[in-house]
């Protein structure tokens, strides 16, 4: 029993070190590039949903309240808007509805990640623009 536990701890320590090194490799990479890597992985990486759908979700989540916001398939609209504007309001029923509509857990995970990335990067850009303007166009150090 203790050997098993010890083996798990050692293995995990190795995995954590490997992970840390991978994160460490990102040191020195410009943050814009790190953001683009997140966007590329979520919006274009291999997944259960087509990349085109994930891009649509990203575009809507970036401007969900806008007049003429980019559309997504109707069954996804409510969840995408909730994740983008008031994620705390997502309920079990929102998820169950998509499951009933035939979406797998992986597909739902991808829909939520795409909406979060869309809303998140849109806000990040707005924040950076505001910062830029307040500095009179000078770049951050």
């Amino acid at each position: 029993m203790w050997y098993v536990l010890l083996a798990i701890v050692v293995l995990a320590a190795v995995l954590l070190v490997v992970r840390r090194q991978r994160v460490g490799q990102a040191a020195g990479v410009p943050r814009d590039e790190l953001v683009e890597r997140v966007r590329a992985a979520v919006l274009e990486g291999p997944g259960a949903t087509p990349a085109a759908l994930r891009h649509e979700i990203d575009a809507r989540a970036a401007a969900p309240a806008a007049v003429g916001a980019p559309d997504v398939p109707s069954e996804l609209r409510e969840l995408v808007d909730k994740v983008a504007l008031r994620a705390y309001a997502v309920t079990d029923e929102d998820i169950a509805e998509l499951q009933r509509a035939g979406y797998t857990d992986d597909a739902i995970f991808e829909v939520i990640a795409s909406a979060a990335v869309g809303a998140g990067t849109a806000r990040l850009r707005q924040g950076l623009e505001a910062l830029e303007q307040s500095r009179g166009g000078h770049h951050a150090p």
Partner: protein, 81 residues
């Protein structure tokens, strides 16, 4: 609601990581960790690299200030920090 896949659909290396975290902390692993370790190539890996750079990398703001910003934003999002 927790997606079954994110609750217990992790691949072996991530399963082991979760097992160790559970043993060491003595309680259920937080959902944020479960999410980051689920299909890490798709989301958690690149997202963690970015978070690490933004929250701990070189900056004009201290780590404490950045944590405060994050806590404030979470509060506005009504999300537990």
């Amino acid at each position: 609601m927790r997606l079954d896949a994110v609750e217990r659909g992790h691949r072996l290396p991530q399963k082991l990581q979760l097992a160790v975290i559970r043993v060491l902390s003595g309680r259920r692993v937080q959902d944020i960790i479960r999410t980051l370790l689920y299909r890490p190539d798709f989301f958690g890996g690149p997202f963690s690299a970015w978070t690490q750079a933004a929250m701990r990398g070189p900056s004009a703001w201290s780590v404490g200030e950045r944590e405060l910003f994050a806590a404030f934003v979470s509060r506005l999002n009504r999300c537990r920090f």
